[in-house]
C-alpha cells in the first residue's frame, strides 16, 4: 500500500520506499532542493522527511483501527546526529503511544547504515 503524501512532501521529492512491519519507510534523494551546506542535507529538509514519516506511520495505524481524524502538529523536537551526505536518506517512525486525542511518535532517519541514524525526532500529534 502506497502512502498518500501531502503536496509539500511530494514537492520535496519524498516517496515511499517499502515498509517495515506494516509501517511505511519514506525516502528522499539528495538534490539541490534539499541541500544546505554544500554537499549536505539542509536540517529543514531532514526535518521534513522525519515529520512526514511520523504522519505516514500514524495515518496507517489509524486506518487499521478504522479511524480517520484530522491530524494537527503540536510539536516536534529534532536531534541532529550527523551531517546528511549527498545520498538518499530514509526515515521510519514508531508510535510510542496512541491515545484518543494525542499520539506520541518517535522517528529515525538514516543513510547507509540503518543503525547509525543521522537524525531523530519526537513528535506530538493532535487528533481532532
Amino acid at each position: 500500500m502506497n502512502e498518500r503524501l501531502p503536496a509539500y512532501a511530494r514537492s520535496l521529492g519524498i516517496r515511499q520506499h517499502g515498509e517495515e512491519s506494516g509501517v511505511p519507510i519514506l525516502t528522499v534523494d539528495f538534490a539541490r532542493n534539499v541541500e544546505g551546506r554544500p554537499g549536505t542535507f539542509h536540517g529543514g529538509a531532514t526535518a521534513g522527511l522525519l515529520e512526514n514519516a511520523g504522519y505516514a506511520a500514524l495515518r496507517m495505524r489509524l486506518a487499521a483501527e478504522g479511524r480517520d481524524p484530522r491530524l494537527k502538529p503540536i510539536n516536534i523536537t529534532v536531534q541532529y546526529l550527523a551531517a546528511g551526505r549527498a545520498k538518499p536518506t530514509f526515515a521510519l517512525a514508531r508510535i510510542t503511544r496512541l491515545g484518543r486525542r494525542n499520539a506520541n511518535v518517535a522517528v529515525e532517519a538514516w543513510q547507509d547504515e540503518r543503525d547509525r541514524p543521522i537524525a531523530t525526532a519526537v513528535m506530538n500529534i493532535l487528533m481532532a
Binding site: 503536496a7 532542493n33 544546505g36 529543514g44
Partner: protein, 155 residues
Amino acid sequence: MADAAQPFDAAKASAFFSKAGHAGWLGLTYSDHGSDWVELELPWREDLLGEEDRLVLASGPIISLMDMASGMAIWQTVQSFTPIATLDLRVDYQRPARERSAVWGRVQCYRTTRSAAFVRGIAHDGDREDPVAHVAGVFMTIARDPRSDKDAADE
C-alpha cells in the same frame, strides 16, 4: 569596511542564501534584522501545503524557515559567517497559519559560548503578538564538526 573580513550582514547575505539549495527552493527572503536577531519570510505556495483540503503551509517548511533564520541570527550575533550545525531544534505549533498567508520566522540568538549558540524565536503570519509557532534550538560552531568523524574544513 576597513577590515579584511567584513562583518556578517543578514540583509546582504540573504541575497546569496535565497538563491541556492533548500532555502532557494523554498523561496526564503530577507525581511528584517537587528544586532542579535533576523527575520526571514517564507512565501505562501500551493506546492508546500500540508493537507489536501486546506490552503495552509505544511509545518515542514516552517521548520526550514526557523532553522535558516536561526543560522542567520547566529551569524549576525557573532558578526561572522562561521560554519555551524544544528544540534537540536524544537518547534511548538500554536495554530495553523492563515490560508494563503506567508509566514515570517523571527529568531534571536540569546547566548553564545565558545562552541554552542542558543536561539529562540517565533513564526508568525503578520502579527508578532499572535505567533503561529515558538522555536528553541541549539547549534554547534564547527571549526571541527562535533557530529562528524571528519574535519569540517576537509569537506
